[in-house]
């Protein structure tokens, strides 16, 4: 059973879309308008679990009693719409979609006679998901509870002008472990940046050499030949890199073309460049 790896590639092709379409046709979800509202606010949601929680709340029952199949459908519709509206969805959302599709199918299938021992019961998974949503909801509620408490300097105020105090020197240090870690990392990162060494000096294939090379091979270039085949291959370590050979050969080729010794052509942007010796002037010009 590989819910994670198995379904992901499918997301990129039509198979997954079909499945979504099928789901939507077979069981139209009434809350589509609500989903639209949700979609517009996608940025406000941090992850698939948050979206699921929002959807689950629409069922208006205790989260532990929600219908997971219905939730799965709603989520898949949500994903489908998001994709149609070209929201870029993080992989997390798609992984959750495939997992839910899998869970839903298992919830709907008749229980096999002999169950594979390594697979947990779908009902257990559903219950675990519901519980997890409940946990997240509890945290959300506690955010509201905490932030609605009287907040210092927003709702309640301490003394505006405390009496002057005699400050005594103290041996206590105002420093945290986090500060220490931060100080350490900053320096190490600075050190790494200092020692940054973009390999070595880049050796270039000299233009004169490229010209000489082209003149040498020119007699053999009666047919259109790709630039890549004409440019010399790098020899050993430490010399110019392949890109430099290609670039210098092209430059030299353009020079020879200007001199009337060669011809260059390219069929499209970024296409292969072809070079050949200029055909002898048969009929004159």
């Amino acid at each position: 059973m590989n819910t994670r790896g198995g379904a992901l590639p499918g997301l990129e092709n039509e198979v997954f879309q079909h499945r979504l379409d099928f789901t939507a046709d077979a069981a139209p979800v009434p809350e589509i308008e609500a989903d639209d509202a949700l979609l517009l606010d996608l940025d406000g949601y941090e992850g698939p679990l948050h979206v699921l929680l929002e959807l689950a709340r629409q069922q208006k029952v205790d989260l532990l009693k929600i219908s997971i199949t219905r939730l799965a459908e709603q989520y898949l519709v949500f994903i489908q719409q998001a994709r149609r509206l070209r929201f870029s969805l993080a992989a997390d959302y798609l992984v959750m979609a495939s997992w839910l599709a899998y869970l839903k199918s298992r919830l709907l299938l008749p229980v096999p006679e002999r169950k594979k021992s390594d697979e947990p019961e779908p009902e257990e998974l559903a219950a675990a998901l519901a519980f997890r949503l409940k946990k997240l909801e509890a945290i959300r509620k506690s955010v509201e509870a905490i932030t609605s408490r009287p907040q210092l300097k927003r709702d309640v105020f301490a003394r505006g002008d405390p009496q002057a105090t005699v400050i005594l020197p103290s041996s206590r240090l105002d420093v945290s472990l986090f500060d220490l870690m931060g100080a350490y990392v900053t320096q190490r990162q600075r050190e790494i940046a200092r020692h940054y060494d973009p390999t070595m000096r880049v050796e270039a294939f000299p233009l004169e050499d490229a010209r000489d090379h082209l003149r040498d091979v020119l007699p053999q270039l009666s047919d259109w030949t790709p630039l890549d085949e004409i440019a010399p291959q790098p020899v050993g370590e430490g010399g110019p890199r392949r890109a430099s050979y290609v670039a210098s050969t092209l430059s030299a080729g353009l020079e020879l073309t200007k001199e009337g010794l060669m011809q260059v052509q390219q069929l499209g942007t970024f296409d292969t460049l072809y070079l050949r010796r200029r055909p002898p002037l048969m009929e004159g010009r």
Binding site: L49, H50, K134, I139, S142, F157, A158, R159, P162
Partner: protein, 223 residues
Amino acid sequence: MTPDLSAKLDIERAIEALLFAAAAPLSAADLARRLPEGADVGKALAALKARYADRGVTLEVVADKWQFRTAPDLSHLMVEEREEPRRLSKAALETLAIIAYHQPVTRAEIETIRGVGLSRGTLDVLHEMNLIRLRGRRRSPGRPVTYGTTEHFLEVFSLPSLHDLPGAADMRAAGLLDLNVPADFVIPEPGGAREAEDPIGLEEMEQVEFAQDFFESADGDRD
């Protein structure tokens, strides 16, 4: 006025003045240190709290310390004093709440509860605002660092102590503050790149409860 009564009132007056003048909340011990020996600080504080209960300034306990604060219902008058608090993102608030209710808690646990990876900077912001701190290390493989809230967190949100986090008892009773995950729970984890974590087994769970503060373990458990 009997001498006894007068002494009692004197203690109240003295505490009133001390708390009024202080720049930060004071503990009962702080107060006792600056009062005549034998002063019943607890009783005087209780009397003062009652005396100020329906005044414009009330006596509050924050982080186990005492402080005079303006009454919450008068906040609308305090326009000139108000400092617009730095707005925390939804992610930061949720992270803060998880740290507050689940502490000590590791980064991986925070991510599991939220179902999404913590973005860079979220913990930074909370550290910077002095709302969270490193608490210790979990006695589990890898000995990950755990986070907790600071005293400043209690002061900002007017909480007498961590026990007074709203709804914490109910959440605990409902098992919502358990950090363990059912054994064969396979919901996709956030931030796929992170290495899989071993679910924490039951017997390890007990150790988790005893996840130690750096400070607490300082005298025991030295390896």
